[in-house]
Structures are given as C-alpha cells and as structure tokens.
C-alpha cells in the first residue's frame, strides 16, 4: 500500500507552508507600531492569500487514490539521507486548510484588541501557521520534528508577550512540557533511522520490522510527545494554565490546531510504525482517554473561570479523539478525525467568544457575568450556538465526531461505548450551565450593564465559524468521504503484525 509518486501538480503544499511564513517575515520586517493599520491589512491579505492557496488541495484531492498525494521530494541534508519530502492523504488533508482558516480568523480577532507590537503579533501567528501546516505535510521524520519543534518558538513568544498576568509561568510551562516530550521523540526518530538502515522516510518506517520490545519503547517515546501535546490525562495539567494566560488568538490557535499536532502524530507515527505495541498498549490508552472524557469532564463542571472551563472541555473532547484511534475500527478513526476538525472550529469559536467578553469586561470569571443576553443579543445567540455545538448537539459538527466515536466504541466493547456516551451528558452539563450563568438571568452588575453588542467585525468572525460548524454538522459527507480510503488503508496496515519472524 501507500506508494507515492511525485506529483506533477504545482507545489501546493510548499506554497501552503511557505506563503504564510514569508508574509509573516515581511510583516515583521516592515511593521512598526506607527504603521499598525497597514500591518493589519497586510497581515489579513497574507492570511487570506495563504488560505486561498490551500483550496486547490481540496479541489484536486482524489478520494479514491491510495497513499500520498501532492507529493514533493527533494534532497535536504544528504549527509543523513534527509529529504524535504511533503505529501498529504485523507488523514491530514483537512488540517491544512483548517490551519490557514483559523489564522485568518485570528488576524481578524486581533484587529482592535492588539494595539501594541501589532506587527510582531501578526507576524508570529502567520509564521506559526506555516510551521503547523508543515507538521501536517511532512513525510520525512526529521522534517516533521523540525516543524513540530519550531512551532514552540512563536507560541512561547505569543504567550509571553501578550498573555495575562501570570504569562511568564505559562509560557515556560508550555515550552518545557512540550520540549520534554518531543526530545524523547527525537531519540525514537534517530532510533528508527538506524533501524531502517539509514532512512528518515516515514512511509519506509511503516514497513520495517521491529521486535515487540523495540516497538514498546518507540511507542512510549512517541507517546510522551504526542500525549503531552494532545494533551491526555495525566499530562494535561499544562493546558488549563496556558489557556488562561494566553491571549485570545493564542488560545484559539492552541486549541484549534496545536492540540491536533499531537493527535495527528498518533495517526502518522504510533499506529502504523508500531502496530503491535499500539494493540498491546491500547487498553492503557483507552483507559486514559476514558478518564479524560469522564473525569476531566467533571473537572470542567466545577471551573469558575470560563477559559479554564473550555480548556478542560478541550481535554475531554481530545479524549474522544484518542479513544477513537485506539479502538481500531473504521468508524472510530473516522469519527476521531471528524472530531478533530470539528473541535478546531468549536474550541476556536469558544475562545474567541470569551475573548470578546474579556475585551469589554476584563474578567473571565463566570460569577462576574449574568444576563449578558440583555445587553448583547447577537453575541448571546452565537455563544449559545457554540455552547450547544460544544456539547455535541445534533446538526452541529460536534455531534458528528462524538457520535461516530461512540458508535465505534460500542462496536468494540459495549461498556466502553457506554462510558464514552456519558460524556454527552457531562458535556451538556458544563457547557450549558456555563451558558446559563453567563448569558441568561438578570443583568448581574454594572460591568455587564455597560456591555455593548458585537460589531460587524466580531460578528463576521464568529459568523463564519458558525456557518462552518453548521455545515459540517448537517452535511459531513465531504469530510468523511476524503478519509475513507486512507483510514481503510491505515487499518489494514495496522492489522498486520510487524514482528520479525
């Protein structure tokens, strides 16, 4: 399976990676706080151009084709046989436009809020966007690692400069937690390079035989990086702290895209490279996922801070994703990927909503709000909509992924399915309870009384996201169709033992 031929199409993937990086560098180079208006317009143009550049990927994608598409390959570091090798399949396709799309939204969201160091803010997000797209496209192990690690630098700077009061602590926690995990992955990557006789080609790694002991060690090394990034229980503790301190745009990108880097890593590395260890460790991962879904869901319920609540709900939703991966059936994995895409929209939107409130009232505490609907009807409608989507209401994108994963889990084992399904209850509880306390009721205090409804810009940015959520919820076929072949291939591959005979 998974043969790849060099694509004859224009280098769409390279464009998707490098356009935002080049725009970001230009913005950094010319931007000053004196020409902030120009910087905003320039960044928006850059983000939109970068997003448009990813559209051909969707239109030219062949649903039936096996293996990688849009493949690009040229030597990079010949000394170690490392290639600049790119390609996407049904597993990674949607994350490329999603990343570029969220970047456009983030640029819009920062329009009025960010007044200091505008160029650096915009530049950092554009560069970050290119780097994250690189992670999804890299087909060379070291290239993957290169992008995976490089994303830490802009995010560290974003949290540290524009974050809240405790931003320094959060930025260090973010950097060191993820750096810890990925350093072990580096060891695993070098080990695979040796084991495969000197190749960094990920598709090559899919084929090499490994003993069970090797597989388990490699699995653990990868798991360290990806589990921290996802984040899975019990290494999730960095996420709430970081979310609380990060600026709105940072939170949105972190939740919408960065968490998916880890989940994507499971699909591209852990499952196909060490299938036997993945099967062996599956009960362990499933247990952790269920703990994330149930326990972290309950933790979300008692949060007093809105951002923390959404952060914990992200962890619970990502628990669904890892659960879907490790039950090894078609509908589970498809559901998990759908959940990743949907969570990208919804969590991004939730953080942007909280950002809108915070910009006006300067508080994230649930207790400081109440009766917002009286002052901000348009905003309240959108907020309720996204809260509904967050708890997986049918006809929103949140339902598609969760439902598929629960179906898959029930096929795999009824009790696991049952436990996963309880999340729908907890999800509804924490999302709607928060919405009730913040949005409805009487106007709680003079801060709320001074709130002004969202303007056209904010309505546009939340509106686009609402349309995306609704579209994916009502008609998920375009998303699931593209991944059919790749998921089937992946499962067929994972079903074969790689133990040497």
């Amino acid at each position: 399976m998974m043969q790849s031929t060099i694509s004859t199409l224009p280098p769409y993937l390279s464009l998707a990676i490098w356009l935002p990086i080049i725009f970001g560098l230009i913005v950094l180079a010319v931007g000053r706080d004196t020409n902030a208006a120009l910087v905003r317009v320039g960044s928006l143009i850059g983000a939109i151009v970068s997003f448009v550049a990813t559209i051909p990927l969707i239109t030219n994608f062949s649903n039936a084709a096996h293996g990688m598409q849009f493949v690009e390959k040229s030597p990079w570091i010949e000394r170690f046989n490392i290639y600049y090798s790119l390609g996407i399949d049904g597993l990674s396709l949607w994350f490329v436009p999603l990343t570029a799309f969220i970047t456009v939204i983030v640029v819009i969201s920062a329009w009025q809020v960010i007044q200091k160091r505008v160029a650096q803010y915009m530049g950092a997000f554009l560069i970050l966007s290119g780097l994250m797209i690189g992670v999804f496209c890299a087909m060379d192990g070291l290239l993957f690692y290169f992008f995976f690690e490089a994303t830490l630098i802009p995010m560290y700077i974003i949290i540290g400069i524009w974050g809240g009061e405790n931003r320094v602590y959060a930025s260090f926690k973010f950097f060191l937690y993820t750096f810890f995990g990925s350093l072990l992955t580096l060891v695993a990557i070098i080990y695979l390079y040796k084991a495969s006789g000197g190749s960094f080609d990920i598709l090559m790694w899919h084929k090499i035989a490994l003993t069970m002991k090797e597989q388990i060690f490699i699995f653990i090394a990868f798991f360290m990086a990806f589990a921290v990034k996802v984040p899975m229980f019990p290494v999730h503790t960095w996420l709430p702290d970081v979310h609380v301190e990060a600026p709105t745009g940072g939170s949105a990108v972190l939740a919408a895209i960065m968490l998916k880097l880890g989940a994507y890593g499971f699909l591209r590395f852990s499952l196909p490279i060490v299938p036997d260890a993945s099967h062996y460790m599956a009960p362990f991962v499933i247990t952790l996922s269920l703990i994330a879904v149930i326990y972290v869901g309950l933790v979300a319920l008692v949060q007093k801070d809105m951002k923390k609540l959404v952060a914990y709900s992200s962890i619970a939703h990502m628990g669904f994703v890892t659960l879907g991966f490790f039950i090894f059936n078609n509908i589970g994995i498809q559901g998990a990927i759908a959940q990743m895409i949907s969570h990208g929209f919804i969590s991004g939107a939730m953080f942007l909503c909280i950002g809108v409130l915070y910009d006006q009232a300067h508080s994230r505490q649930i207790a400081d709000y109440g009766g917002v609907v009286n002052k901000m009807p348009k905003f309240a409608a959108l907020f309720i909509f996204f809260s509904m989507a967050n708890c997986g209401l049918p006809a929103t994108s949140g339902f598609v992924g969760e439902f598929m994963v629960i179906l898959g889990a029930t096929q795999f084992n009824f009790w696991i399915g049952l436990l996963a399904a309880t999340a729908l209850i907890f999800g509804a509880a924490y999302s709607l309870w928060m919405a009730k306390r913040v949005i409805f009721g009487k106007v709680a205090n003079h801060h709320v009384a001074e709130l002004v409804d969202i303007n056209g810009r904010e309505f546009l940015m939340l509106g686009i996201l609402a349309v995306a959520v609704l579209y994916m919820g009502l008609y998920p076929a375009p998303f699931t169709d593209t991944m059919q072949t790749s998921v089937a291939d992946l499962l067929a591959h994972v079903a074969h033992s790689k133990l040497p005979y």
């Binding site: 170690f80 540290g160 400069i161 260090f172 950097f175 060191l176 070098i190």
Partner: protein
C-alpha cells in the same frame, strides 16, 4: 660538511598560512609602535587583513584536499586542519570586530598598551593553528603554550582592574597545572613508546607489546590535561571565574576559537595517536561528558551573571562535544561510523563557537564606557530597546538550547545520532534530558528580553561594522540551521580524508 636537508623536511608550503600570520603579526607589532593613539584603527584593519590573507591561503590548501607532512612529520596540513583553521580565523576576526568599541572604551588600546590587544590575539591564533596542525607531541605542546601564554597576558591586560587580575592569576595557575598534566602524560607515553611522533606512537601502541599500565597511566594525565583545556567537569573550576573576571572581549578570545583548537588536539592525540586504547579513553570521556552535562546545566540555572551562565553553558556544551568524540569507536575497534561521529563532534564545536561569539558580541553591544552589561537584568526589555538585536540574541539562545530551525539543533542531532549509533540508548536519553534542563536557562534570557520592561533605557550605539557582523552572525545561525547539509558534508569529508591517511 653537513649534508643538505632533503626537500621533504624543510617544505614550507604547508605552513604558508602560519608563516603569513607570523610575519603579519610581527609587522603589525612594529607598525603599531609608530601609530599615534587615535590611529589604532590601522592596527585593527591590518589585523583583519592578515586573517583574511591566512584565510585565503588555508582555503587554497583546503580546496586541494591533500594531506602534506613537513618537518619530518612534525607538522601536517590536512583537510580537517584547514577547515578548522578557516573557522578559527572567522572566529578571531569576528571577535576583533565585536570587541573594538568595547576595548577602546576600557582603555585596552591606549596609553602604554598600544596595539598589544591585537598582537596578542593574533599570537594566540598562531598557537591555535600550530595545535590544529601539530602531528608530534612536542608541536602540539608548543602550540598549547603559545596560545595559553598569549591568553594569560590578555586576561591581565587591564591590570588596574582587580577582578581581571584575579582571573588572570587563576587562569595562569590552573592553566599551568593543565599544561603540566599534559606534559607529564606525554612524557609517560614517550617513555613507553620511545617516540614523540603521533603516527609512531600509534603504531607502537597498536603492536601491543608495551605494558598497558604505563600507557593507561600516561593516558589519564593526557585526558586530564585536555579536559582542563576544554573545561569539562571535574576540571572546570577555572571556567566561570575566568569568564566572569576577564574583560568580555578577552572572554570571547579564550572561550571561542581555542575550543576549536582543543577539539583538534583531542582528535590528534586520542584518535590519531591512541586509537588502540579507545576502550580506556572512551570510558574516561563518558564520565567527563555526563558530569559536564549534569553540573554545567544544573549550575547554570542558579547564575544571575550572564557571563557565568554562559560559562556553565560552555561546560555543558563541551559535554556534547565529548559525547561525539567518544561515540566514534563503539567499545571495540570497529571503525564504521567513526568519521561520522568525529565529524559530528567537529560540527558541534563549530556551531558552539559561532553561537557563543555572537552571544558575547551582544553582551559587548550592551556595554558602554563605564558600564559592563553582564547580569541577566541588563537584558531586560531588550526587544523594546533594539528589536533586531533582541531577535539576533534569541536566535543564538534558541540555537544553544538546540531548538530547530537553528544551527544548534542540527549539531545536537548529529551528535545524538552518533551516540545512538553506539547502541547506548541510556546515554542518548540522558543527553536529551539535560538539554531540557538547559533549555530553561536559555529561555529565561529570552523571557528577560521579550517579556520584561527595560530597566535601563539608555540608547544602544552600534558601529556599522559590528552591527553588520552581528546581524550576519545571527542570520548565519538560522541559515545554517535550515540548510545544514553543506557544512555537515564538508566536516564529514574532511574528517574521513584526515583519518584515512
């Protein structure tokens, strides 16, 4: 009547660069005597020109790619030595550019001192070149002494400054002790093998007829002497004090280029001379490397003085160089991958030196007449005082931490690949975990520059040449990190050619 010496013995062509440097330095010394105080820039330009001429000569030899012995095998010009010399000139040249204003402000170029700063720097360079090219124990020792004596004088060049005088005293005493160790080790080996010629020693040791006790005895002293010069734990006590006490310009002269030369003599003495005893020195280097990584990284965290912090970081970085050196021969005399491992260590040394001179360059940039920038607090809010140099410094620090896309990552990756090649996974994991600890204190400086408000708002005045060189240094670190292929290949080629002759 004496017989005329054969041409092979007095062939001066291989040492054309050394001759040029010696002649140039003597000329500068004489010319400088006739220059009035204000015309010291003539000395400066002449010194750079001399280095440029040497660079051209060495490059010519390097491009030829041949190995030529002269003076009855006491001196060798091979690809490794020429490549290392090129980087030595570059480092010394950059050092002179960075330190010009700094030295001028501190009266190191005036009064009864004159151009001694430049002349001594060039003499120490000459010593380093002799070290790099020595293929006889005596030549190596001669080079070490020429370099060290010039550096002792340089550290003490501000003789009215009590801190510098104290540093000079420490450096002199401990340096003399190290030379003593080295000499004692050499004398033991001479006694055992009856030769000072490195190639003869290698053959004699390989024959296996010499009592191992006396060889190991000599080896221990040799390794201790080298460890002193590299600043590896437990022979590191001088490093922080001397780095802190010396004028920053001199710190750069003794913390930069000499590491390249010391690396070269490690290759000459241990690999070329005592490879049959690799099993013994490997274990010594392993202890040194692990201790250096541990003590260097952990102690650096506690430092508030940036020069001391960089000193401990040097110790930790030298641990990585040692890892590369010990990975060449895995337990047995199996030499596959030997040149790969040594070239990784060589690449690491070059990376370390280029990065370190840049970071000390920024330190000198922030210093002015009557003010030494050396504590962490002096870096507070640098991004607001000079955005571009904050970017440069961040690049350098991320490179030291080994985060892609900086050059430091490529270097760490090569060394780790070599170490894993020996099958010592625990050592690889240990090394990456200490890099994680290391990342913390580098990040702390980045935090100071970007997240904090400036404590000192005096404008930063930079001369054109320094601004240009420093910018180039920063860009080079990122460019060589994104495209590390050519330099890695050059190191491998030079090392392979050198070891095969």
């Amino acid at each position: 009547m004496t017989t005329p010496l054969p041409q092979a013995v007095i062939n001066m062509v291989p040492l054309s660069a050394e001759v040029a440097l010696l002649v140039g330095t003597c000329a500068i010394l004489l010319i400088d005597m006739f220059l009035s105080q204000g015309k010291r820039s003539v000395t400066y330009v002449l010194s750079l020109l001399t280095l440029l001429v040497c660079g051209a000569l060495s490059y010519h030899d390097y491009a030829a790619g041949t190995t030529v012995y002269t003076f009855n095998g006491m001196f060798v010009s091979d690809p490794m030595s020429n490549l290392l010399k090129l980087f030595t000139y570059l480092t010394v040249g950059l050092t002179l550019v960075y330190s010009r204003q700094y030295a001028d402000d501190r009266g190191m170029l005036s009064g009864n001192l004159g151009g001694e700063f430049y002349v001594l720097a060039l003499f120490s360079t000459l010593g380093q070149m002799v070290m790099i090219s020595g293929s006889n124990f005596l030549t190596v020792y001669l080079g070490v002494e020429l370099m060290s004596l010039s550096l002792y004088a340089l550290v003490a060049i501000r003789r009215d400054n009590h801190k510098a005088t104290e540093a000079a005293m420490k450096y002199f005493i401990l340096g003399a002790l190290a030379s003593g160790f080295l000499l004692y080790g050499i004398s033991m080996l001479y006694g055992a093998t009856g030769s000072l010629d490195i190639a003869h020693v290698a053959t004699a040791v390989a024959a296996g007829t010499i009592k191992p006790t006396i060889l190991v005895f000599g080896l221990v002293f040799l390794v201790a002497g080298l460890a002193f010069k590299l600043g590896a734990v437990p022979f590191h006590m001088w490093v922080p004090d001397v780095y802190e006490g010396s004028p920053t310009a001199v710190t750069l002269l003794l913390g930069g280029a000499p590491k390249i030369a010391t690396f070269a003599i490690c290759i000459r003495l241990l690999v070329e001379g005592l490879l049959p005893m690799a099993f013994d020195w490997q274990q010594m280097l392993m202890v040194l490397a692990v201790l250096s990584l541990a003590i260097g990284n952990l102690t650096a965290i506690a430092q508030t003085n940036l020069k001391r912090m960089l000193a401990y970081s040097t110790i930790a970085q030298m641990g990585f160089v040692l890892l590369g050196l010990l990975a060449g021969v895995a337990g047995t005399t199996d030499r596959t991958g030997a040149s790969a491992a040594y070239s990784a260590a060589m690449y690491y040394t070059i990376t370390y030196v280029l990065t370190t001179i840049g970071s000390f360059g920024v330190l000198m940039l922030l210093s002015r007449a009557g003010f030494e920038a050396e504590t962490l607090n002096d870096f507070k809010g640098l991004s607001k005082r000079s955005g571009w140099f904050a970017v440069v410094m961040s690049i350098l620090l991320f490179s030291l931490a080994g985060v892609p896309p900086m050059m430091g990552f490529a270097a760490k990756f090569s060394v780790l690949t070599a170490v894993l090649g020996t099958g010592q996974i625990w050592l690889t994991v240990l090394a990456v975990m200490f890099s994680l600890i290391g990342a913390f204190y580098y990040l702390r400086v980045v935090k100071m520059m970007w997240f904090d408000e400036p404590a000192d708002n005096s404008p930063i005045v930079v001369k054109g040449d320094m601004s240009f060189a420093l910018s180039l240094n920063g860009i080079a670190i990122i460019a060589l990190g994104v495209l590390p292929g050519p330099l890695l290949a050059a190191c491998l080629k030079a090392m392979t050619l050198t070891l095969n002759t």
